[in-house]
Symmetry: C2
Subunit: 203 residues, 2 copies
């Protein structure tokens, strides 16, 4: 078969690429990361193993790509001027994502296995999680500039006030997640970050 | 060997009991829950398998007992009248516990494997986690009664404002945990829960 970049080859490549990423996410959900093999991915995606080896240097790189595709691009948060509304948007979207089976099952598997594999965990956090935390911090930084969030707030702590409770509830299944829960978390977390009248009165 | 409850037999039983619980925690840290076998526990603890089968009906029950012993008894939080100081105490203690290797390694393993085993996860949460959340809620409820925490606060959401950020940071290793971090989380979370002057002004 010709390797020339005709339109047909390009379309076939793109289809194979998508089929591989989809197979990876499904198989991580079914079997976990450790037991995932290139053979199984190739079989599920209907491609040759060499295709996978040509495109990805390691299993870890492939899994990160597959989860990045699953989670979609990270975009800056909107800035409508209403910080509560903008944050409700991102926290509601996170709740919806955590509850969607196509996302939930493989994400639990990857989070679980990351515990036993700190190098994978670091890549997972740096590549997939931190960009989402950063765009949220960026929105809070803008709110600081207009006096909606106190200037002395540590934004690294602040951002985990929004995502930490969600993650705790989701991972430990302490209670169901819902849109109204998302809104309550945003309200409470923003109340924590408001400028205070009394100087130094955060404690 | 006599089964009569002489003082010597009692001491021997107690030693075996403690050795078994210690072996379980060590082995969960080393191998995870799934691969844990009664044979390996018996060998590590220096007891016969029958001793273990006599005392615990299932592997799950044994692991929960071992982690309950590791985590210690759940006591009500002190109520010194200073809700910030009382909560700093429990959150600092949680940070110390999460950072202690004898606790950290097996806890990560159990948290990870709970993701693949919802029944184990539920027992783990109900037996080990929820009592700690409940005593914290109880302290917040007392603070509501004296006007230090707003009466309309949902305490199930509130309690995860304290523990959620810690857990997110610890499990995902987004940043190190420290005592000053613990204090900051308590300060922010309490600021979120304070009564407001304007009625309905939580949003």
């Amino acid at each position: 078969m010709s390797e020339a970049k005709t339109p047909d080859t390009g379309r076939r490549s793109e289809r194979s690429h998508q089929a591989i990423l989809k197979a990876v996410v499904e198989l991580v959900g079914e079997q976990g990361y450790t037991r995932l093999t290139i053979e199984a991915i190739a079989a599920r995606a209907g491609v040759g193993k060499q295709t996978i080896y040509r495109w990805w240097p390691t299993k870890g790189a492939l899994v990160l790509d597959a989860f990045a595709a699953l989670m979609g691009d990270v975009a800056p948060l909107p800035d409508t001027g209403d910080v509560a509304a903008d944050l409700r948007g991102v926290i509601r979207a996170t709740v919806a994502e955590l509850g969607a089976p196509r996302f939930e099952v493989p994400s639990r598997a990857l989070t679980a296995e990351s515990q036993m594999d700190p190098a994978l965990a670091k890549q997972f956090v740096d590549t997939l999680l931190r960009p989402n935390l950063e765009v949220t911090k960026e929105r809070l930084r803008a709110a600081q500039k207009v006096g909606q969030v106190a200037r002395d707030v540590d934004l690294d702590v602040a951002v985990e006030l929004f995502f930490g409770p969600l993650f705790h509830r989701w991972l430990l299944r302490t209670a169901p997640l819902s849109e109204s829960y998302a809104d309550t978390v945003v309200d409470y977390a923003l109340a924590a970050l408001r400028p205070r009248k009394s100087p130094g009165g955060r404690g």
